[in-house]
């Protein structure tokens, strides 16, 4: 092998650089979206409210992956494992210790943060495809670990656990679904604001410096090991919150709900939404929730193929995901204003 082969061509980054400004929406747009999210449940049926709740939950999970991949440039196929840990933490606390559902969420965030942080330690040595394999291993192992005999007393083994859905507090005249929706919405907004601020902070800049050029970052004094594991921890923590909310919304946890398929869906959600664009996470979540159903309704036997074709269409038209659409929209709006 010649020396030339040993050198990786420059400018061949795995994750493209997204400036931090471009990672969020403008204030006006945010307010409109927020208003729509607040009012919408009043007009729709319970099932649709449930789907909107799931959309927010998956949106959070995609957002977490986005912080990890779009922010710090690390790739993970293991998000389903963190999601499972969050879901089980909530389920076990609620069913065995009668902890209030709202209190389980910070607990599972902490547990998952620790888990992700510890997992990030050995993963430091790996990058790219190798990291993908390591996280993938975590995702395939998780359902099996949850089924282990000595954990069965807590996890309920293959059968899983049933979680009770909370009623609206203070005697509010709301259905359980609607209350859970607003509860999820509040958590989502809090985490979204946290994430935006995180990426704008010193830590966020460190993440992005590592993503763009690890060697340059470390020579500028960024503690690469610390921030890489921190990114893993934060991402796992947020995914854990999503898992907790998911367990409450679905009212059920079982090992086979958290297989590698979930991790792959979350990954697709991130790509469709635009890697490194936080609001896109929710667009991506909508894609992974609604498009498989749509494909099923178009053709039962060929639903997989229809899904694949739709996915291809999306990545052909907008290889950079929903972010590209948003940028185009902004440019159009700018032109209109000038005229």
């Amino acid at each position: 092998m010649s020396a030339a082969e040993e050198v990786v061509a420059e400018g061949h980054e795995a994750v493209e650089a997204v400036p931090k400004r471009a990672m969020t929406l403008g204030t006006g747009t945010s307010l409109v979206v927020l208003a729509a999210l607040l009012i919408a449940p009043v007009f729709v049926k319970n099932f649709i409210i449930f789907q909107m709740t799931m959309l927010l939950i998956y949106g959070l999970a995609v957002l977490a992956l986005n912080i990890l991949t779009g922010g710090s440039g690390q790739f993970s196929l293991g998000q389903s494992a963190f999601y499972a840990v969050g879901a089980y933490t909530t389920a076990v606390l609620m069913e065995y210790f009668n902890v209030n559902y709202a209190l389980t969420i910070p607990i599972s965030a902490t547990v998952c943060f620790g888990f992700g942080y510890l997992f990030g330690k050995p993963a430091l040595r790996l990058s790219g495809v190798y990291l993908a394999l390591a996280t993938f291993a975590l995702a395939t192992a998780m359902p099996q670990l949850l089924k282990l005999n000595f954990l069965e007393h807590w996890t309920g083994g293959v059968q899983g656990l049933v979680v009770t859905k909370p009623d609206a507090p203070f005697g509010l005249p709301m259905s359980q679904d609607m209350w859970l929706y607003y509860f999820t919405l509040v958590v989502t907004i809090a985490i979204y604001i946290f994430s935006v601020n995180l990426l704008r902070s010193r830590s966020g800049r460190a993440f992005m410096a590592i993503r763009d050029n690890e060697i340059a970052a470390s020579s500028m004094g960024v503690n690469v090991a610390l921030y890489k594991t921190l990114a893993f921890g934060v991402s796992a923590g947020i995914t854990g919150v999503a898992g907790s909310l998911g367990a409450i919304a679905v009212q059920f946890v079982a090992p086979d709900s958290y297989t590698i398929t979930l991790a792959i869906s979350l990954f697709l959600g991130m790509v469709v939404g635009g890697v490194g664009w936080l609001p896109g996470s929710f667009v991506g979540a909508a894609f992974i929730i609604f498009v498989p159903n749509m494909a099923e309704s178009i053709s039962k036997g060929l639903s997989g193929a229809v899904f694949g074709v739709l996915l291809f269409l999306v990545i052909y038209l907008v290889p950079h995901g929903a972010r590209q659409v948003a940028i185009l929209g902004q440019q159009l709006a700018g032109k209109l204003k000038k005229n």
Partner: protein
Amino acid sequence: MELFTNQVLAGIATGAIYACMALAVVMIYQAIDHLNFAQGEMAMFATFVSWQLMQWGVPYWAAFVITLVFAFVGGVAIERILFKPLAKAPVLTNVAGFIALFAIINSSAGLIWDFTIKQYPTPFGSSPFLGSQLISTHQAGMIGVTVLLLIGLYFFFQYTRIGLAMRAAASVPESARLVGINTSWMIALGWGMASAIGAIAGMLIAPVVFLEPNMMGGVLIYGFAAAVLGGLTSPFGAVVGGFLMGIFENLAGTYIPGVGNELKLPIALALIISVLVVKPAGLFGRHIVKRV
């Protein structure tokens, strides 16, 4: 001790399956620098085509050759039609494309040939090999074919002009273009070859795991793991990695208490990760040096 030798032998036999698939994975990684998640499904589809040909009365070896040609042309066509337009898109978008391709092939195969499990013939017979209960002649044949394939690939890449051109296109595309190599077609050729190797793997594996649209799921995971273990840049490493995977898996199943079929994979993967933590480029991979 006898148990140990037996388990190692059995591990080598299953390892041959993984080695085959790992070889296909490394081939395409060399050509396009990505792991193709749809590789297993492409192999499965090709295997179904050969099965269909045999159902129509074509003899085994004729079907084998026709399928190889089909897989090669199919691989080139997929690259030209689906992935060439994505060449400039981000890497992660390409990965999403592989997942889409996976879904399309899997679901179409399910529709054409349905999901029932089918028997697949073997050209080597399935009597015990040299009197051993653990390795059948089919498994021995499989190991033989894998080794032959490896030697063939070595000569192809090392001693032919086109092999040299492919290596050049994969490692330094800009310079390769300057000396007149059509790098775009080299990538297509890489896809074709990987697809054909995958088809061989599929046809060798099918008698063991039986033919059905999801037959490659597990095998591909092991194949990936084997390729990563051996080092993604080394076809030889991939084959060694495949055999090691098989042995690992069998020994873990035998000696670690409480490990059933379901935990074999996580344990094998955990072992691989431990290897990677010590040697991040795999056992035989070359270290990638970054220019600062």
